[in-house]
């Protein structure tokens, strides 16, 4: 196939993914909503997931199929341009969606996390939908400044750390919600499968502690690349500044946990704050910011 054929094929595969993940989303939505069982006098909503097990399994099958097709779309996109598929924001988004779906399936093989299928499928759908409609750019070779082996290293490290930071944020948010339930009247039925507060608290810390060195490396790799491309390893470009702020926020989080002994609610809020500096960097600086990182054509 020629380059442009590959690029068109990749686009078609993305549209196919949108359809498949939509089915996955509805299957998971059906799984949750039809499992509601009202036991007459009791006001509390009861759930019985055994009634909708087949819908759940269909959802999982579609998640697997969608992820495979997405992987093909991502790879052909890279092949069409003869490079790694993360040269602009459209490509960051489809690669990021692939990472998210892949991380979910990986977790699925190890733990009982089918309940995450609903939020994961809707996140993937939103990401892919925004990517193909708003962020889409034709497949093209890289601008000279991006032609460097550091593109693969620096951007991949940043994408992976970002993904893990966001998962840590989701876990911390889950902690806060579950804590509220437990303080009020105990967990509702549907949340009983979710791990204990202590486990959630530990999990978000471990995710951050695990990926913080990688984030540090992503920032340093960026500095090394900046030195060879722009002549200065650090120039307080908005993207660099916010990467630094994210780094500082997570460093403070780790210190707060390890040396000051923060746990639970305060730690979860600090974790969410640090994660939102990353999101702010990805969205605000990419779209409205100015600076040296803006040549990606979004």
């Amino acid at each position: 196939m020629t380059s442009s054929n590959l690029a068109y094929f990749s686009n078609d595969a993305i549209y196919a993914c949108l359809a498949i993940f939509t089915i996955a989303f509805f299957a998971h939505a059906f799984e949750v909503s039809w499992s509601v069982k009202n036991t007459s006098s009791d006001d509390k909503t009861q759930f019985d997931f055994s009634r909708t097990d087949r819908a759940g399994r269909l959802g999982t099958a579609m998640m697997i199929l969608g992820t495979l097709v997405l992987a093909v779309a991502d790879i052909t996109r890279g092949l069409s341009a003869h490079r790694v598929p993360w040269g602009n924001m459209y490509e960051f988004s489809i690669t990021g969606a692939l990472m998210l779906a892949g991380a979910y399936l990986f977790a699925f093989t190890k733990y009982k996390v089918r309940w995450l299928g609903l939020p994961v499928s809707i996140s993937v759908l939103l990401t892919l939908g925004t990517a193909i409609t708003v962020l889409y750019r034709p497949s093209a070779p890289l601008v000279p400044a991006l032609k460097s082996p550091w593109l693969a290293i620096h951007v991949l490290a940043a994408i992976i750390s970002g993904g893990v930071f966001l998962v840590a944020n989701l876990v911390a948010a889950t902690f806060l919600i579950m804590e509220r339930y437990e303080l009020k009247s105990g967990r509702p039925k549907w949340a009983e499968k979710i791990p204990t507060l202590d486990a959630l608290d530990q999990l978000s810390y471990r995710l951050v502690a695990f990926v913080f060195p990688l984030w540090t490396f992503a920032v340093i790799a960026g500095a090394i690349w900046a030195e060879s491309a722009w002549g200065k390893y650090w120039s307080w470009d908005p993207k660099e500044t916010w990467a630094f702020i994210t780094w500082v926020a997570y460093a403070a989080y780790l210190h707060a946990r390890v040396t000051v002994g923060w746990r639970g609610r305060r730690a979860a809020w600090l974790c969410i704050f640090a994660g939102s500096t990353f999101l702010f960097n990805y969205i605000w600086v990419n779209i409205w910011g100015t600076g040296l990182h803006t040549y990606s054509g979004l």
Binding site: P144, Y233, W242
Partner: protein
Amino acid sequence: MSEQNLGAPEIGGVALLRWAWRQLTSMRTALILLMLLGVAAIPGSLFPQRNQNPQKVDSYFTSDPTLAKWMDRFHLFNVYASPWFSAIYLLLFISLIGCVLPRTISHLKAIGKQPPLTPRNLDRMEGYRLIQGDPATAIDVAQKWFKSHRFRVRVEGNSISAEKGYARETGNLLFHLSLILILVGVALGSLFGMKGETILNVGDRFINTPTSYDNISYGKFQGQGSLPPFALTVKNFVATYDAVTGQPSNYVLTTDISNPLGSAAKRVIIKVNKPWTVGSTKVYLQANGYSPVVTVRDKSGHVTFEGPVIFLPQDGNLSSLGAIKVPDMVPQIGFIASFIPTASSSASRGIFSTYPEALDPRLVLSAWKGNLGLDSGTPQSVYSLNTAAMTKIGLKALTLGSTYDFGYGTITFNGWKAWVNLQIVDDPGKMYALFGALFAILGLLISLFTRQRRIWVKVGSDVEIAGLAKNGIPGLEAELIALTRALQEGTKE
């Protein structure tokens, strides 16, 4: 009252200093300073910075001068070099040094030391348990188990104290010491470095002396005579573009460099991600554009101006804007001009460029006569014309090779040359910063993935074991179970 006060330490002098030092080097202060540094970095990403985007800073001053003046007083256009930003990071690093150095010394002292004594009441520790086992062999079995799991062991009578994971503190200290090394690198770079820029047309020769630069800045302790003595000639510059999107795909700058000056020239290719290096100095290809070549003649046909004029690109298709100034005519003549590499035109937009390569160039001129204002003493940009004392006399779009008669003489569009913007940087501190960064990651990995814990075994009528994991890191329980099993199996035999 006064007699009672005699015994108390005097507030002031040494005591006050010691109190201040203790406050500054406390963990709490360091954490607050760290967060403060993050917060202080924010305004620099929201407002334009003078060293990155001076035009945008100027637009703040023209749209609301009073506000801009007040923002400037708080250094909001120069955040990262401002006194308040510097104050935060200097305090942070003093705090860091005050915190890390004593810890490093005590950690070094602890290297050969034995683990601390077994506490008296083990039942207050984590995972305390009593084991039904043979007290006679328990010490030996436990000692063997600890040794095979590479614990440090201290046997005192009928108890064992074992500890593992000293590397956690080693990694932790390595990380923080590396941060100090990064700061040293940054400081060296700004005190002993230099940075300069120059724009060269293809064919130009550049000799590395301060006067050759368009702008140059030195570190505080960098002498002006310290530039490496090379000469660089721009032989060729090729930009290739994607035919569909018009995006640049490659820039190749071919130069001949003699280093030192006068030695045989060497062919050097410079690209965007491939600077040329000499010592700690590097030459970077930063930007490029077009210089239209024109000849201006007066009415008698005498040449009053000739040569390439550097124009600044305005968009992705390299429509470029510039000024041609001819002071040696009466009256003085100036042109505000745009160079359109590949021309197309429409009723609404006039003439515009559709592709960055010069395939069908136009030179669009508006001619002005009067006083160029070059003798007034106030410096003016070479890229724009000050038309305050001038009147417009004509407008013309020239194709390649054509001539425009503006009444007082003629201007001919002969061709164009490519120009390149070279940035020349000397940063002797960057290797320190790089090594600091690499050691910081190493230290971080060691400290985050090492678990530090103590385990005790006490033998009386029964065998008691317990442990303590620093920062409550999980994994201790599993080890205690393994040790219990070893003790039970070992003592059965």
